[in-house]
């Protein structure tokens, strides 16, 4: 039984933000259908692989990790965007992040399962993943990987849910015209949230604490993922920088993905008021820093490795600079660094179109970058003399490509369906602040909830 009325902070953009939840267009159903179709194609490809074995892919000895693992690293990297925007910017006290947090965290939430799924897809015998649970050795980076990613997935769900909670209650109270099953869903998920000031106080404190924890978790997860490569002795993988390298790359590609998603949401759901251009300008500044930081990582890696001139390392480096993977490598350099920095510095200010272009380039480039980190090393492994004639190549098959496409389709579908059930911009966080100006960073924040009048 519902006790006295619950409180929701006033937000003058509430109608705009709730509009997508109230009504689904006809065109949107077509989009869902197409995406489902792509996922079906991927399922068919996987079924082929299940029946015939991993031979239908392009994987071979010694290239035993290919596109599937690239997808794994890419999707986990994408997931870090959400945590970066929500948690790290929250800790830095950047108030402008507030409209973006849910959109960014949704990317995290929905890309993590596909990242984890990529591993299972990569296995010819997925049931063997239980071996890690039963016989996993403590020194195995794969075990740390599973632990870290599981913890991260679970914590992201909780962090997302907590910041969604007041808005679920809002939906429960406002969306009275929704079908009964949907209203019931809101009621159950709202866990009886009443919007009392003490509840908001506690929620804010827990979110602050979890923000710190999630920041540490982001660093840990992507470092541990990189150590799956870094703890081997393969040339090109066994580099100490691989931890920070992957981490910077993940936050970089993740932030670019957030820009793309925000631009689409802004256009499709008419949220120009809620997601103003100033947001994109702030993200532009961050992206400039990340682009330069990424360049720095690449220089640190390749300068040190190539100056060493070690006989095992150089074949891998030549593969990337001038060998089989030169096309991909230099495309990546253009797409990730050259074009984006030019666009950001000269064209990007106040221009969302150019920002999206640069960010699409960045994400494509970063996917290629993951590929170029993983595969060239395998084509020139340490015991390269054991490579027989015809070995050391990798050509992805249609199965792998179909599955990759379906993973992206799945991410998009989950995301789009989510935006039709829950507000994609946090209504309670972007509500009018009653007695607060934009404080400089690291000042204590004062939240005054529970009153409708200004103080």
């Amino acid at each position: 039984m519902r006790p006295a009325t619950s409180y929701h902070p006033q937000n003058k953009n509430e109608a705009v933000i709730l509009a997508p939840v109230r009504r689904v267009t006809f065109e949107e159903r077509w989009l869902w259908a197409i995406l489902l179709g792509l996922m079906g194609l991927g399922a068919y490809a996987y079924l082929t692989q299940w029946n015939s074995g991993l031979g239908v892919t392009g994987l071979n000895r010694p290239v035993y990790w290919g596109i599937y693992i690239t997808n794994f690293v890419f999707f986990i990297g994408l997931a870090h965007s959400g945590t970066f925007i929500s948690a790290i910017l929250r800790l830095a006290g950047a108030g402008w992040r507030k409209p973006l947090t849910r959109a960014a965290e949704a990317i995290t939430l929905f890309s993590l399962p596909f990242g984890v799924g990529s591993i299972l897809i990569d296995m010819g015998r997925p049931d063997r993943v239980l071996n890690i649970m039963f016989y996993g050795r403590f020194q195995s980076p794969l075990l740390w990987d599973i632990t870290a990613v599981s913890l991260y997935l679970f914590s992201s769900i909780v962090f997302f849910y907590l910041s969604l909670l007041p808005d679920i209650a809002l939906c429960r109270d406002r969306l009275t015209e929704a079908p009964a099953w949907q209203q019931k869903m809101y009621k159950i998920l709202a866990l009886g949230w009443m919007g009392r000031p003490e509840q908001f106080e506690r929620l804010e404190r827990v979110l602050d604490g979890m923000a710190i924890f999630m920041t540490l978790l982001v660093v840990t997860v992507h470092t541990v993922v990189s150590w799956v490569f870094g703890m081997t002795v393969q040339p090109g993988w066994h580099t100490a920088l691989i931890g920070p390298f992957f981490l910077v790359g993940a936050i970089f590609s993740g932030t670019a993905a957030v820009v793309i998603v925000l631009a689409i949401l802004r256009r499709v759901y008419h949220m120009e008021n809620v997601l103003p251009v100033s947001l994109f300008n702030s993200l532009r500044k961050l992206l400039i820093v990340f682009t330069v930081a990424w360049l720095y990582m690449m220089i640190a890696e390749f300068l040190t490795a190539s100056y060493g001139g070690l006989a095992d390392e150089m074949p891998v480096i030549w593969q990337k600079f001038t060998g089989d993977f030169a096309g991909l490598f230099w495309t990546m350099a253009l797409a990730v660094f050259v074009f984006p920095i030019l666009i950001f510095v000269f064209l990007g200010k106040d221009h969302i179109g150019w920002m999206v272009t640069a960010c699409v380039l960045i994400n494509i480039g970063m996917w290629i970058e993951r590929f170029v980190v993983i595969v060239p090393t395998e084509t020139r492994p340490r015991l390269v003399s054991t490579l027989m004639e015809g070995m050391g190549n990798y050509t992805p098959s249609w199965v792998e490509i179909a599955i990759t496409v379906s993973l992206f389709a799945g991410l998009t579908l989950l995301y789009v369906v989510f935006t039709r059930f829950f507000p994609i911009v946090p209504i309670w966080e972007t509500a009018e602040e009653t007695a607060e100006t934009e404080l400089p960073p690291v000042e204590p924040r004062r939240k005054v909830f529970g009153t409708r009048q200004s103080l």
């Binding site: 403590f138 075990l143 003490e198 509840q199």
Partner: protein, 54 residues
Amino acid sequence: MHIGELISAFFTSDGPGGVVVITVVGLAAGIYFWLIRWILRGSEPEEKERYRFK
């Protein structure tokens, strides 16, 4: 070296790794469950010492 024996025993054991996964995720689950309940309770008088995030 004595500490070295302990460490090497830890690193050369063969499992079960699931213990680590279950412990970590289980601990997190318990903490989150308790945290959500604590948030929703929200009507008890505030504690005297507050951890203020600065």
